[in-house]
Symmetry: C2
């Protein structure tokens, strides 16, 4: 058995230029019209660049956009759950047929060149309702669509940069061709992806370990693009996940990698996008837990699982690995889920995110049944450094609680 | 998605007669030649009776026997891993074309009628080496083949009895048509079977719970036929498993049933036979742990898993769910396997079967990390009753250790 094939194509379609072609286009880009794009749009360029968005050849044209919104298909009929689009305003002075140099301040300037084959307007409310199931501006994904400029530009893209991700994340960063080569080397064909944007506590460890038991291996796949305010930064999260993997997983059963996308928080539709590009990364399965890629109360806890059974058969080669709510149960004497623990709430350890943050920022310990001590230590240090920064800002030097905490260490 | 189809046939092929046809054949059986069979042969009649051995129409003829031994296929090409045969001696006076009434003392007399279409001799050493990978008489499955009489009889069977299993085991006993109806009623299509001939401790609970997490449900499937000497009797095992299921599983996630077969301890080939009839019972997967259906040191710990990947694709609709050695790890703080626990032997709870038996028969407690207290209590009572019997035999009345143990209760 080999790896699952890339999505909707014979092979991976990376749009990133390398070597001489890259130099030629970088030079050419100096003399063409320039468009500054958002971090979401830039990240989509990187995903296309490395072939994670195979079979896309660029940003969607109108026919693709419309069919993706309504049917989750490209105009060609290939399954695709979320429009990948680029916008421009009248002030950008872009005309049909133009070659455009796509720039991003955040990602070091020039990132791609695009040939504008289509310029069209969309009903943003329609897109949001289709994709996010809401057009409320409080939804962070909706807010980004609503902030798009007047025109959508469709056309093929040549990607000229990976946005500094390889330099910033080193071995953690991987292109789909690299994970595929790695899985083949490991002899894996049944590979589950575990999506994460947070440090992993025991409930996440448990999900991954169930997959380890029944698969050849698991890809712990961290999002490296921008998150919501208040989320733990990638650098800290990476160290926390490394500590967990090193101390609690068998070497050779999991591979820990990251990818350069930005969350849309589109819940069920985003779970499907996660599935599409995980298939490109060589994964045969995607772990889909409670409220996968959701935010607030916009999606039912299992909507992102159910949608996999509603799409037409054959849409994806990857299959979901749905998992229930997980926790430590004192009566079970171990980790369990609502599917395997028959006991009551009072027997289970249940900490809210708010309580976890409060405990950690006060330098407190989390129960060993909730989180591994090696992970807790890293998170404590992070939260304490936040406090210190706040206090330094307020008082000009570390005093009070932060100073005391430092002594304790 | 529906249930997995029965093996090698459009539908289940139960050979059990019912109603008037049963009465007619029972009557007819009074006047034909009688053959007393072994408990293994009788149990194979029951398995054919209820359709668990679909698509077999009776005991194998010579061409079937030979191809099953060499290729694990019936003469028709349908996958079949172990010869299902009936033997007779010269003293039984059975000729080709005879109708024979198959009797078993252990199972209440008349159990089937067979039309003798073939009468052939086999090389028992050849069969044993093919099926058991050994012809040593110490192997309990080999011993049974070697004890077969001179002739093999092949031909279609009409089954007239279920051997008292339904009466003895009530709701625990189930025919394949019954579990299929039950799974459909529960809305299950991905169903893993867990084979057991022992009470379930936490390591077994863990295997089943992993399957519960990733399947629609699990069939805990106990063998009800004869076991090796020293094994815990079915009645005690059933109570111990019920106690576990009632206290540690979510209602509606597992179904606990039994089947009327006798162990051959053929390791890998028996795992395949377990797969064939589990498919008939409606299971899409079979949990295959360490040394599945093995005995002594005849098979490598994972031979029974590997064989599933060696048989030609399409041999079975059922798939294996291979699982590693499982145990409680104090550093993990829960159940784990060699695939998920990176710690050392010294961190793991490891009790040998001998230690468990010794502890229980001395009325001692097993650690909660090894076995659930509800299960331990049932096993303690059983072992103490054994001791009592032994002591009563020796001394004519209960004294010493056994009497003390009784007081403690």
């Amino acid at each position: 058995m080999g790896l699952v094939p890339p999505h909707g194509a014979g092979g991976l379609k990376p749009l990133l230029l390398e070597g001489e072609a890259l130099q030629v286009e970088r030079k050419a880009a100096e003399n063409i019209i320039k468009l500054d794009v958002t971090s979401r749009e830039a990240c989509d360029c990187f995903m296309m660049g490395i072939g994670a968005f195979t079979p896309l050849a660029g940003f969607l044209g109108q026919a693709d956009w419309e069919r993706v919104c309504t049917e989750m298909k490209l105009a060609s009929g290939v399954f695709w759950p979320i429009p990948i689009t680029l916008s421009a305003g009248d002030e950008d002075n872009i005309e049909l047929g133009d070659k455009v140099a796509i720039h991003s301040q955040e990602f070091g300037g020039l990132i791609a060149i695009m040939e504008v084959k289509e310029k069209y307007q969309i009903d943003k409310h329609f897109e949001c309702k289709q994709v996010f199931n809401t057009d409320e501006m409080e939804h962070p994904g909706v807010a980004k669509v609503m902030a798009q400029k007047k025109w959508n530009l469709g056309g093929p893209v040549k990607v000229l940069s990976e946005g500094g991700f390889p330099q910033e994340y080193g071995e953690l960063y991987a292109r789909p061709a690299e994970t595929r080569a790695l899985f083949e080397q490991l002899g894996w064909s049944r590979v589950a992806a575990f999506q994460t944007r947070n440090p992993m506590h025991r409930s996440h460890e448990f999900l991954v370990k169930i997959a380890v038991e029944v698969m050849d291996g698991v890809l712990i796949h961290q999002i490296l693009g921008k998150l919501k305010a208040g989320d733990i930064p990638a650098e800290v999260r990476v160290r926390a996940i490394n500590a967990l993997v090193e101390n609690y997983f068998v070497r050779g059963t999991v591979v820990s990698k990251g990818y350069p996308m930005e969350m849309r928080y589109a819940g069920p539709r985003e779970a499907l996008l996660h599935a599409v590009f995980r298939q490109n990364y060589g994964c045969s399965h995607l772990i889909v837990g409670r409220d996968h890629a959701g935010v607030g109360d916009y999606y039912g806890p299992f909507d992102a699982q159910k949608i996999f059974y509603k799409i037409p058969e054959g849409s994806l080669a990857l299959k979901p690995l749905p998992m229930d709510w997980t926790f430590y149960c004192y009566k079970c004497g171990g980790m369990a889920s609502l599917k395997t623990c028959p006991h009551g709430k009072e027997d289970r350890l249940n900490l809210s995110g708010t309580m976890v943050r409060k405990t950690l920022s006060e330098g407190g310990e989390l129960p060993q049944e909730f989180s591994r001590p090696e992970v807790v230590q890293i998170l404590q240090e992070y939260y304490q450094s936040l406090d210190d920064k706040v206090e330094i800002k307020l008082h000009g030097h570390a005093t009070g609680a932060a100073a005391k905490k430092k002594k304790k260490k």
